[in-house]
Amino acid sequence: MNKVIASADEAVKDINDGAVLMLGGFGLCGIPENCIAALVRKKVKNLTCISNNAGVDDFGIGLMLKQRQVKKMISSYVGENAEFERQLLSGELEVELIPQGTLATRCMAAGYGMPAIFTPAGVGTEVAEGKEVRNFNGKDYLLEYAFNADFAIVKAWKGDTDGNLIYKETARNFNPMMAMGGRITIAEVEELVPAGELDPDHIHTPGIYVHRIFQGNNYEKRIEQRTVRKKI
């Protein structure tokens, strides 16, 4: 299949100005750190980023925001980021806020070849403005369209040379739907193994959805909210 590429820089080499990207992760958990770093190095601009969050000031998508590479964010929650706030208030950055489940399902719809889905989320709120409302069995739903992204960039725990992916714990989050939803899907993994080494029953994203894969390195895996209890 020859999906294995050498590096993050090679993975993103044809991501050009104005591209629409899906970026996996929830908060800083399960984000494609290596690809984000490569996009920062590439200095590609005017990006539309579909990502549940926008990182923090000095990590994740925040690094791209700092360089003003992002034209528009499509997210469900964008707190924790002062530079983001500054750009938003100054009008430099466009933001479309959508409910988290709607975001997840619109990515999934793309991967399932469904042009649109119905969800009750946002009915009766400003999210519903301009959208088609339809009643099924006495309940109102909004018609929401599948996303159409040029590239999906995801992070998995393990992957194989055929592009099959396995995620770890809650680092799974948006990664599987985005992996399915991009026209070209780039996966970075902590461990890349030869095809045949992963149990076919354990695979979360079948390789058919993945076009490029590489083993990332130096994962920081920053923790956003370190909450602990004392040992008794």
């Binding site: 929830f26 908060g27 800083l28 958990c29 399960g30 549940n52 997210s75 469900s76 929650y77 964008v78 707190g79 706030e85 938003l88 208030l89 806020l97 409910p99 988290q100 489940g101 709607t102 997840a104 399902t105 990515c107 999934m108 969800t119 009750p120 989320a121 946002g122 009915v123 009766g124 709120t125 400003e126 999210v127 725990w157 995620y167 770890k168 714990e169 809650t170 680092a171 799974r172 989050n173 948006f174 990664n175 599987p176 739907m177 979360h204 895996k221 920053r222 923790i223 956003e224 909210q225 370190r226 909450t227 602990v228 209890r229 004392k230 040992k231």
Partner: protein, 218 residues
């Protein structure tokens, strides 16, 4: 005396039934997990993709791959399962989550809720709140009865942008427990030492008071 946040959580925990799948929002709702009654088994859902959320990890055992919807480091309990966020909201939409507890800035007497946006302030986003309130079978709101200015948060109509409409079933505030009924807020219980009169004053929406209103005990 008004309830503490811990007491609000403790009171809400009494609504839990054995076998419930529960989604707890950020803030006071999170504290509910600390007061699950003896003999009651509930499974906590975290909408980023986990059933079977456990307590915070011991110091030094934090796992960056294991966080809750509030992005806090957590643990799992035996029987937990991970899944993607689409399935997570799928089970929420399908009504498989028995109880959702969340905070609110305003609740209307019809059960509308506002908790995500204040005009003029930086808007961080609704996260999963709109999905949860639109789909949950049973929503309990945990909140202060009045805002810092002393104004009622239980209103005839919400003034703030809505998160969802006609969805809140019950409110546990610092001074009262109320059901949201077709006829308005029905007072069920009052905080220890808090009078019905005080609750009336602090409730701007239609309040229904029938018979003796019992005092909560802790």
């Amino acid at each position: 005396m008004a309830l503490t946040k811990e007491q609000i959580a403790q009171r809400i925990a009494r609504e839990l039934r054995d076998g419930y799948y529960v989604n707890l929002g950020i803030g006071i709702p999170t504290l509910v997990a600390n007061y699950i009654p003896q003999g009651i088994n509930v499974v906590l859902q975290s909408e980023n993709g986990l059933l079977g959320m456990g307590p915070f990890p011991f110091e030094g055992e934090e796992n960056p791959d294991l966080i809750n919807a509030g992005k806090q480091t957590i643990t799992t309990v035996p029987g937990s399962a991970f899944f993607d966020s689409a399935l997570s909201f799928g089970m929420i939409r399908a009504g498989k989550v028995d109880l959702t507890v969340l905070g609110a800035m305003e609740v209307s007497e019809e059960g509308d809720i506002a908790n995500w946006k204040i005009p003029g302030k930086m808007v961080k986003g609704m996260g999963g709140a709109m999905d949860l309130v639109a789909s949950a079978k049973n929503i309990i709101v945990a909140m202060m009865h009045t805002n810092p200015k002393g104004e009622s948060k239980l209103l005839p109509k919400c003034a703030l942008p809505l998160t969802g409409v006609k969805c809140v079933k019950k409110i546990v505030s610092d001074i009262a427990v109320l059901d949201v009924t077709p006829n308005g807020f029905k007072l069920l219980e009052r905080a220890p030492g808090v009078t019905v009169e005080e609750i009336k004053i602090k409730t701007a929406g239609k309040l229904i008071v029938e018979g003796d209103i019992p005092e909560m005990t802790f």
